[in-house]
């Protein structure tokens, strides 16, 4: 528990009753949550070690209500913590005592789908998977697929610029987003982008995407929808050495092949996931790759033949091409349940750095050393095509001090990612978790430029203010 929150504003806490009355005039009574019991459901997100009870929770149903609530908070100097489904792994949606939570989860309708234009306009509280389900009848889908896609909202995806296992081919949220309705803190509703490609003027859409709820609240979004491939099939490759797996990835890409997914798991991750999913993972290898290709059977066969030929010189101990839908599903179940399966055997924190892929063997060895030096264990899953690493640092909450050790090990790992030319976070966001590490990636001038831009949208630091930027050295304009 090493991450600090700013001291709550006592003046705001003292006005709690008045603030709640004010909010009550703006939204229906069922949209305003004030009792302690009900507020407790909102006190944390996916970073459950940290909890803060919000002043109140508001769950509006329309853009107009969001605008009214924001204007009220602006006029009354009340902080706002925007929230989608609360699945953030970096504490992006964790409240503050002197802030209200503004949740968009009730706004979950599909507004309009154009299959001809390949776009969907949705309310921002719809789940990621909900969009794909709404367009699946015509064989379409929404491409970015974070592991939490069943629960997470598109609002949260936009806030974090979420990725997923298939972004090597399809890109991340920012590459699939065409427009948003953004409610500014003063209540102004701004339409950015639309059903067309590329913005007029500055790419404010690109700036909003990944801004972690610090610039405004997104209430509607226009996303690209794509026709799904005819089929997809994964193959498993097990290697005796980490270096061989890394070199195999480089060779596949060097041969001009961009698989739709290219996932790496190390030995502990393989064992944990296999025990949970019974996916047929090889238990006697140090590293495993899941390589998935898409297309017709004919295209898939051709592509997998090429990939197998490329992999052979690296002496894979296991090579297994999925033979059925059920096998494919099991292979993915294992990988996608990596976090949940790890949670069955230990407490863990999930890190999310990105590294240049050529640094993989070095970084994995160093991660092992770092974690061992704290007396802990680690399982690594990794989007190998794009260098996005997810070390799961395991610990036991019941052993005093272990969680702090895990946090320290995690910080060392992220510093390592930056040292080798990578970054602190590839897809989870900074939130509170990586806030105090930002100075390792950015110098004061870099951060000041970001804060100046932030100040254009929220000069008083009322929007999700405990996040992203170190608490020291903040300024607005």
């Amino acid at each position: 528990m090493t991450i600090a929150f700013p001291k709550p504003d006592q003046a705001v806490l003292a006005r709690r009753r008045e603030i709640i009355e004010g909010l009550g005039r703006l939204v229906a009574s069922e949209a305003l949550i004030v009792s302690e019991d009900e507020r407790r459901a909102f006190e944390t997100d996916g970073l459950t070690a940290y909890r803060q009870m919000p002043l109140a929770v508001v769950l509006p149903s329309t853009t107009e209500e969001v605008s009214a609530v924001m204007r009220f908070c602006h006029e009354n100097g009340v902080k706002v913590v925007p929230r989608g489904a609360g699945t953030s792994l970096c504490g992006g949606a964790i409240p503050q005592e002197d802030a209200i939570v503004l949740g968009v989860a009730k706004m979950n309708r599909v507004i309009d789908v154009s299959f001809e234009g390949r776009t969907a306009r949705v309310q921002a509280g719809i789940t990621n998977l909900g969009i794909s389900q709404a367009v699946a009848n015509e064989g379409f889908f929404y491409a970015p697929d974070p592991s939490s896609q069943l629960a997470c909202t598109i609002a949260g995806n936009i806030a974090m610029n979420s990725g997923g296992a298939h972004c090597l081919k399809y890109g991340v949220t920012t590459n699939n987003l065409l427009g948003v309705t953004l409610v500014m803190l003063d209540g102004t509703v701004v339409e950015i982008g639309g059903e067309h490609l590329d913005a007029a003027g500055y790419d404010i859409l690109g700036l909003v995407c990944g801004s972690e709820g610090q610039l405004g609240v997104v209430t509607e979004a226009v996303v690209r929808i794509l026709r799904a491939a005819e089929g997809a099939r994964p193959a498993l490759f097990g290697f005796e050495r980490v270096e061989d797996a890394g070199a195999c990835v480089a060779a596949i890409i060097g041969a001009g092949i961009i698989p739709v997914a290219l996932e790496y798991m190390d030995k502990p991750a393989i064992q944990i996931c296999e025990a949970f999913a019974h996916a047929g993972y090889p238990l006697d290898v140090e590293a495993m790759l899941i390589v998935e290709v898409e297309g017709s059977d004919q295209e898939i066969d051709d592509m997998l033949r090429r990939i197998v030929a490329i992999a052979e010189p690296f002496r894979p101990k296991t090579m297994k091409v999925s033979q059925s839908e059920a096998e494919s599903a099991a292979i993915w179940k294992g990988r996608k349940s990596a976090f949940g399966a790890t949670g069955r055997v230990a407490d863990y924190i999930c890190m999310d750095g990105t590294i240049p892929t050529g640094q993989l063997p070095y970084v994995l060895n160093r991660i092992d050393e770092i974690v061992k030096s704290y007396g802990l264990g680690v399982a690594n899953v990794f989007h190998a095509g794009d260098g996005n690493l997810h070390p799961l640092v395991m610990f036991n909450t019941n052993v005093p001090g272990e969680m702090e050790k895990a946090e320290k090990a995690g910080e060392d790992i992220l510093r390592l990612c930056v040292e080798v030319g990578g970054c602190l976070t590839g897809e989870h966001g900074v939130g509170i978790e990586k806030r105090d590490l930002m100075t390792h990636q950015f110098n004061p001038v870099d951060l000041e430029q970001q804060m100046r831009v932030r100040g254009v949208f929220d000069p008083r630091w009322l929007l999700n203010p405990a996040k992203v930027f170190p608490l020291e050295g903040r300024f607005a304009a």
């Binding site: 154009s114 001809e116 234009g117 390949r118 015509e138 064989g139 379409f140 990725g163 972004c167 991340v172 920012t174 590459n175 102004t188 701004v190 639309g194 059903e195 067309h196 490609l197 590329d198 007029a200 003027g201 500055y202 790419d203 404010i204 690109g206 700036l207 799904a228 491939a229 990835v249 890409i253 041969a255 001009g256 297309g295 295209e299 592509m303 990105t354 240049p356 892929t357 050529g358 989007h383 794009d386 260098g387 030319g421 990578g422 970054c423 602190l424 976070t425 590839g426 897809e427 966001g429 900074v430 870099d446 951060l447 000041e448 970001q450 831009v453 100040g455 254009v456 949208f457 992203v468």
Partner: protein
């Protein structure tokens, strides 16, 4: 007029800091191949990236390349091609349209968010741009993003720099994600469709699982019939398969050919560079991005009151239109059309006297303009970098 050609970032920082102190307005440039675009602006001096040249990092296995901003685009392409790779977004070459000479720079590719026909599949420059270094209007050296393609650390200033036309900062280094060059390209050409039929065919192809990487329609003109182009790229086996499927899908259209090789490449280049519109003398040329389903209606409305020539890219979502250069070069008609149908129109080519009297870029709503001005001030408080190039007062 003085032209500064800084040899490194520190040099650029000193020049810009000095300009900010003195209120010297700077024209931000590369090699000037896109100089006749945007709003003509009055500046006191010029700062060029011409001397900031060279590739600083290239890791083919990591699909990443970094280059100093003044590196000529052909050099970047050559280095990538040697490893069988390319910039994914098929960047347009503006020289033919604008009649300029010299080599475009990689910095301008980022600064103008350039793209081409493959935009529909692979995104624009902004989608491949993963890192920038630049000097802001205070003379400070700032970095954003980096060399890894998945990176959500902090505000994405990379996106803001893409398409900001040098008004927010002087780029010194850019880093792009790259992709393997495809083994084979084949184009299905459907003849003699009118605009609506053509966009319908393109929508159907783009809504298929066959990964279309180019979807354009060139309407009938003079004695030549219309051509509707659908492009596939990839490994040979895959392109063969998908082309057969595509033909089956579109079998109700009778006149179909398959085009490959040099002729097909030249055709796509003429779509990419909009040279299809340059044989008509000195007319104004506009580029309109709209919903693919709205392109034909938008054009129909425009053609009612303007002597216009046009073609479509991006499955109908990108319309290139030439208009008579007289008066407002068709601006009021086109802007009425973008207001009705959504999207935005940019005046790409017109004489300076025309560009100085009207909005070259789509006018923004008050709310967006307020943000635009605020963002400009947050990078360049003295307003010295390319002032007015995009919008008056920005």
């Amino acid at each position: 007029m003085t032209t500064h050609t800084p040899r490194d970032e520190q040099d650029a920082s000193i020049i810009i800091r000095d300009a900010a102190d003195k209120g010297t307005l700077l024209n931000v440039a590369g090699n000037g191949t896109k100089a006749p675009m945007g709003r003509p602006n009055q500046t006191d001096a010029s700062i060029s990236s011409a001397a900031l040249s060279g590739i600083t990092l290239y890791e083919p296995a990591e699909l990443v390349i970094s280059a100093r901003s003044g590196t000529p685009v052909p050099e970047v392409m050559r280095v990538l091609a040697a490893k069988g790779q390319e910039l994914p977004f098929e960047l347009m070459d503006y020289r033919w349209l604008l009649g300029t000479k010299g080599e475009p720079t990689i910095g301008a590719v980022a600064a103008m968010n350039i793209s081409g026909p493959r935009r529909i599949m692979a995104g624009a420059a902004r989608d491949s741009l993963i890192g920038v270094r630049f000097v802001n209007g205070r003379g400070e050296v700032v970095k954003s993003g980096g060399r890894v393609m998945k990176n959500v650390t902090g505000l994405d200033l990379v996106k803001l720099m893409a398409g900001s036309w040098g008004t927010l900062g002087f780029l010194t280094e850019v880093t792009f994600k790259v992709l393997p060059k495809q083994e084979r390209m084949a184009t299905l050409v459907i003849r003699d469709l009118d605009d609506r039929q053509a966009i319908e065919a393109l929508s159907q192809a783009l809504g298929s699982p066959f990964d279309v990487t180019g979807a354009a329609h060139i309407p009938a003109r003079n004695r030549s019939g219309g051509s509707t182009l659908i492009r596939l790229e990839g490994f040979r086996v895959s392109v063969d398969y998908r082309m057969n499927e595509l033909k089956r899908l579109l079998k109700r259209f009778r006149f179909m050919d398959i085009l490959e090789g040099v002729g097909a490449e030249a055709l796509w280049q003429s779509v990419r560079d909009a040279t299809l519109l340059t044989d008509q003398g000195n007319r104004a040329i506009w580029r309109i991005s709209t919903a693919p389903t709205k392109g034909t209606d938008l054009v129909a409305q425009v053609a009612q009151s303007l002597d216009a020539q046009w073609f479509y890219d991006w499955g109908g979502g990108l319309v290139w239109i030439s208009t008579p250069v007289e008066g407002d070069a068709g601006a009021s008609v086109l802007r009425e059309a973008t207001r009705s149908y959504g999207g935005h129109a940019t005046l790409v080519r017109a004489p300076a006297e025309v560009r100085s009297t009207l909005d070259v870029f789509e006018p923004q709503t008050d709310a967006l303009m307020t943000l635009t001005r605020g963002i400009k001030a947050s990078f360049d408080p003295a307003g010295i970098l390319n002032p007015g190039r995009m919008y008056a007062g920005v």
